[in-house]
């Protein structure tokens, strides 16, 4: 991949992120307005939905990275024991021109890694102990380069914010469904024909909104993973090592205990493996590993890296 093409891709990515944000905002508005209409006032519903989202997003903006790290049982890397890891992150920071992110280690034998944070100045990388035991230095470099690409491309911000928005939509829809199920709410509305139609529409929206939000999220996430693979390979000039690392991580039988539905999209390889097997296409947050490996192996990179003189 030629460097300018990559920068172009990053720009296109930024455009897609705006579409994604707009799409999520619209979904929220639709959900809020419909539910509001059933219970009285669409505008109140819309404003409530947006307010919930804004509160969630603000909390995430300032505390999201810490929450993600804490939920994953990550502890700061030890300068003595995790020396090689720290060195590799330093090397890749130089290769990418980014400030060195905070480095965390997760005590788990399943190999995997993720990046989180707000922007390149407030970023963190977490790596499992298994990753670091099972991969060689070159492969580890590939993985770290992939994660740093997520940081450079501002993926960390969008992935976290989108995950939270999708969560907010799911929460609102869930509340509404429960409320309707238990017969609370629009007694008055139910007695009129138009009211009944509104209830059906609201039900449909409450069911479809979270699904659409997840589809949007998955589509954007897949593109970002692919882009991070490519720009990671450009950083190390050694796509084969990242390809090997992906194969090793995906082929490892161990299960990452600390990963859950919310944090899974962050990892370099989807840690929820049963899901990966069942999910067909659209709901995947990662492209199939074989596809990623094949793409990396087909790359021809310009060797512009002068060796140590």
């Amino acid at each position: 991949m030629e460097s300018r093409g990559l920068y172009g891709e990053i720009k296109a990515n930024r455009r897609r992120s705006w579409f994604l944000a707009a799409g999520i905002g619209l979904l929220l508005a639709l959900l809020g307005a419909t539910l509001g209409a059933v219970w009285g006032d669409p505008l109140t519903g819309l404003v409530t939905a947006w307010a919930v989202a804004v509160v969630f997003l603000t909390i995430t903006w300032y505390g999201g990275a810490q929450m993600t790290l804490a939920a994953s049982d990550a502890r700061p890397a030890d300068p003595e024991r995790d020396r090689v890891l720290i060195n590799i992150v330093d090397e890749m920071s130089l290769a990418s021109g980014l400030p060195r992110p905070d480095i965390f280690v997760i005590d788990d034998t399943a190999p995997n890694a993720f990046a989180t944070g707000r922007d390149p100045q407030h970023a963190a990388i977490a790596v499992t102990r298994g990753l670091y035991q099972k991969l060689d230095r070159d492969e580890l470099q590939g993985v770290i380069a992939h994660e740093l690409s997520h940081i450079r491309n501002h993926d960390i911000r969008y992935t976290t914010l989108v995950a939270v928005s999708v969560g907010a939509i799911a929460l609102l829809a869930d509340l509404a469904l429960r409320h309707m199920w238990w017969g609370g709410g629009p007694r008055r509305a139910r007695n009129t024909g138009a009211g009944a139609i509104m209830v059906v529409v609201a039900l449909l929206v409450a069911i479809l909104a979270p699904i659409s939000a997840r589809l949007l999220q998955a589509a954007v996430s897949r593109r970002r993973e692919t882009l991070a693979d490519l720009s990671g390979a450009e950083m190390t000039r050694y796509p084969e090592a990242l390809a090997r690392a992906l194969e090793k991580i995906a082929g490892d039988p161990e299960v990452l205990e600390v990963a859950n539905r919310a944090t899974a999209p962050l990892y370099i390889v989807d840690p929820i493996k049963e899901f990966e097997k069942r999910a067909r296409g659209l709901l995947r947050t990662h492209p199939p590993t074989e596809e990623r490996v094949a793409r990396l192996r087909s790359l021809v990179l310009p060797d512009r890296r002068p060796g140590p003189s």
Partner: protein, 191 residues
């Protein structure tokens, strides 16, 4: 009528000037940012080279008692380091650094023959640090070259090329080691 027409033309003209001035300012600032990134990337290379010079005496110290019969290898490393430290000008510097890399490579090769050294915690640590430093040197040069390419592309493409020269920006040269055999980073694998 006439006054109105002139007013419209005048407005258009002022708008045009504002747009052009805004474009020049944005272009200038963008180029300055890139040029600063270049300077920063260049100074990173020096930082890493210095890190290597600082590590070498420790390594020599750690291995010299074990390597009584390999004094010439150690002497070569020490000499190459001294030359690299005192080198004047980029060409001499590059040559001295090449020599140092070769000397280190043969030192690491010799270490392979000494089981006590391969098991020595301190030596292992120093080897990791030197491996990492070699990587850092080549990655910071790579980043420098990547940045040079972005900078030059920006300077040479339309419309920036129209004013870049007037604003005092000139294309930079890539960093070349001038030695293709040295393109691969030093490999140290003690496992």
């Amino acid at each position: 009528m006439l006054g109105y027409g002139l007013g419209l033309l005048g407005l258009l003209f002022i708008g045009f000037i504002v747009v052009v001035a805004g474009w020049v300012i944005l272009t200038y600032n963008g180029l300055v940012t890139l040029r600063n990134q270049l300077e920063n990337a260049w100074s990173q290379i020096d930082v890493q080279l210095k890190r290597r010079y600082d590590l070498i005496p420790n390594l020599v110290e750690a291995v010299k008692d074990y390597m009584e019969y390999e004094q010439d290898v150690l002497t070569k490393v020490t000499e190459a380091r001294a030359q690299a430290v005192s080198a004047q000008g980029p060409a001499e510097q590059a040559q001295a650094d090449n020599m140092l890399t070769r000397a280190l490579r043969s030192l690491f090769a010799v270490v392979e023959n000494y089981p006590e050294l391969k098991a020595n915690e301190n030596v292992l640590k120093l080897q990791e640090e030197l491996t990492s430093t070699e990587n850092r040197i080549s990655f910071s040069r790579q980043f420098y070259n990547d940045t040079v390419m972005r900078f030059n592309t920006r300077l040479q493409t339309f419309p920036t090329n129209v004013i870049a020269g007037m604003l005092g920006f000139a294309a930079r040269e890539f960093f070349e080691t001038g030695n293709d055999a040295e393109r691969e980073p030093v490999k140290v694998d003690l496992r």
